[in-house]
Symmetry: C2
Subunit: 315 residues, 2 copies
């Protein structure tokens, strides 16, 4: 029997949503390591550590999330599930259904006297004209249904937490890359195309961003959950780079820079030229900082894609 | 057969929610008079004009609102239904269920290619430290679950309207009084108590407010629906009075001022000293202003309570 799970003195009983997703798949082991009894809601057939209790449910079915909350009676909730189809995510009305599902979870959590919640927000909530984006100061003026839905959920969740008497942190997650990324997204797109010997058309590449490797984001979320820090917390590396820097790093590592085609893609209108994070709360109050550099994360991701494409190639 | 309903050239087919409520009960006749084909969603057994088509449904049952929208296929939506139990309204999680129900209605309305929406908001969305509250300028910083829920819904609804291509106005309704008011609310409480010969304990009465008679509010909403005006519109009289002025007017009319007990009630912490409206948009862009003075509205309300209490008294 594992040493880490079923001790009576656990860190708490955490209910996780989105725990099979792009970011969330990396939280389960750190949560077990931190001493939580881990419960996962998912509509998938997940491959997860044996210590994780899986609850099969579709959060978009009204009442489903509430029923799991009532049966698990978690002390902690880490809610990351959302609609994330690349391209469609920005203005799909599926975002509204996730607001509805999230409100149901929060109402249920209040009813079972839960203590601590971390919810996944997004840098798309910010008005990025302010730079770097600060939790206390930068206005939220989202220009997409996605950003507005997350921002609206946060506004309601903070009042619900106050009234129900639980502690709530809202993780405003900046840009992510890592294994299992959708091939339409930047790092996955460039890495795959170059590995396959295909051209990689890109935008001009001068957009300034803060990128973080998904296992790092997961670590930050678990640290945040265990902290007493409340309110909005930017989850980002604190280092800003251009998209061009990332693309060129991949090109150099794969020695296929000649396949990169800067300037062939027009960036979507809603993409700001600069979107960066003030990380003083994450570093100072939560006490978290990345354990790897951006380039180490990119190299690990490139290695993952190499393994994927090698296994799948006919040779 | 009535002349006003079934002409092929109607102003549109309007779906009304909350049309049996404190404000909403006054919209049905003006909508018919304005030439709309009127459909009402309600969970009650309403007494309504014969030309109104009633759809019995509970909007809090997931899918119920969507089904009515799909069967009616309205061109216009006037959504006023909400949880309004006095006292409880401020921080009840029922507010979240109404956000969920409202999002479902909006998604359905987008799917049937609706053209025009008016939603009922509230002055409680504003940060009342700014005064008078202006639609473009005063920040929304609600301090209650009620205010946060309405504010959050508005933020999402505006993006949904943009993406779905319908026209949307958000009516930020200030203080209301009129017939059928809950006896725990100010005008009803003072009027009833004085008519019954009972003392009326009040707060200090120095709060500054903008009160409007419910039939006037309904008229403003119908005018707004027929206008092309989009975004937030304050719905208020534009005249500010103290709560003491209103209470003293009732006392004078009923010649029972001696029953009024100012200073015996401590106002709730979330009540601002001043909460008033800039009504330039309502007057200048929508072209609406009240047809009666505050005192005329109060007198009509007093007369309504007199009739109620006379009919019900054993003598």
């Amino acid at each position: 029997m594992s040493q880490r799970a079923t001790s009576p003195e656990t860190a708490g009983r955490v209910l996780v949503t989105g725990g099979t997703g792009f970011i969330g798949r990396h939280v389960l082991v750190p949560l077990l390591d931190a001493g939580y009894e881990v419960h996962l809601i998912t509509r998938n057939e997940p491959v997860v550590p044996a210590e994780v209790t899986v609850h099969r449910a579709d959060l978009l079915v009204p009442g489903a999330g509430e029923r799991v909350v009532e049966s698990v009676r978690p002390s902690h909730l880490l809610h990351m599930a959302w609609f994330v189809a690349p391209g469609q995510v920005w203005n799909s009305f599926e975002n509204l259904r996730w607001v509805e599902a999230s409100l149901e979870l929060l109402r249920g959590f209040a009813r079972v006297d839960g203590r601590r919640v971390v919810l996944a927000g997004t840098c798309s909530e910010y008005d990025p004209r302010d730079e770097p984006c600060r939790e206390r100061g930068t206005p939220t003026e989202p220009d997409t249904v996605y950003g507005a839905s997350k921002d609206a959920l946060r506004r309601m969740a903070e009042l619900v937490a106050r009234e129900a008497g639980f502690s709530l942190a809202w993780a405003r997650i900046f840009l992510a890359f890592g294994p299992h990324e959708h091939p339409a997204r930047l790092v996955a797109f460039v890495t795959r195309n170059l590995l396959l010997g295909q051209p990689a058309p890109c935008s001009h590449g001068r957009q300034v961003r803060d990128f973080l490797h998904t296992p790092e984001i997961a670590g930050a979320l678990v640290t945040l959950l265990g902290s007493g820090v409340t309110g909005v917390v930017n989850v980002a590396s604190g280092r800003t780079v251009t998209i061009g820097h990332i693309v060129r790093h991949i090109g150099n590592r794969l020695e296929r820079s000649e396949l990169i085609r800067f300037g062939e893609v027009i960036p979507p209108a809603h993409e700001p030229p600069v979107l960066t994070a003030d990380v003083e709360r994450l570093r100072g109050e939560v006490g978290w900082r990345p354990s790897r550099t951006l380039e180490e994360g990119l190299d690990a991701t490139i290695a993952w894609w190499k393994a994927q494409l090698t296994v799948r190639s006919p040779g």
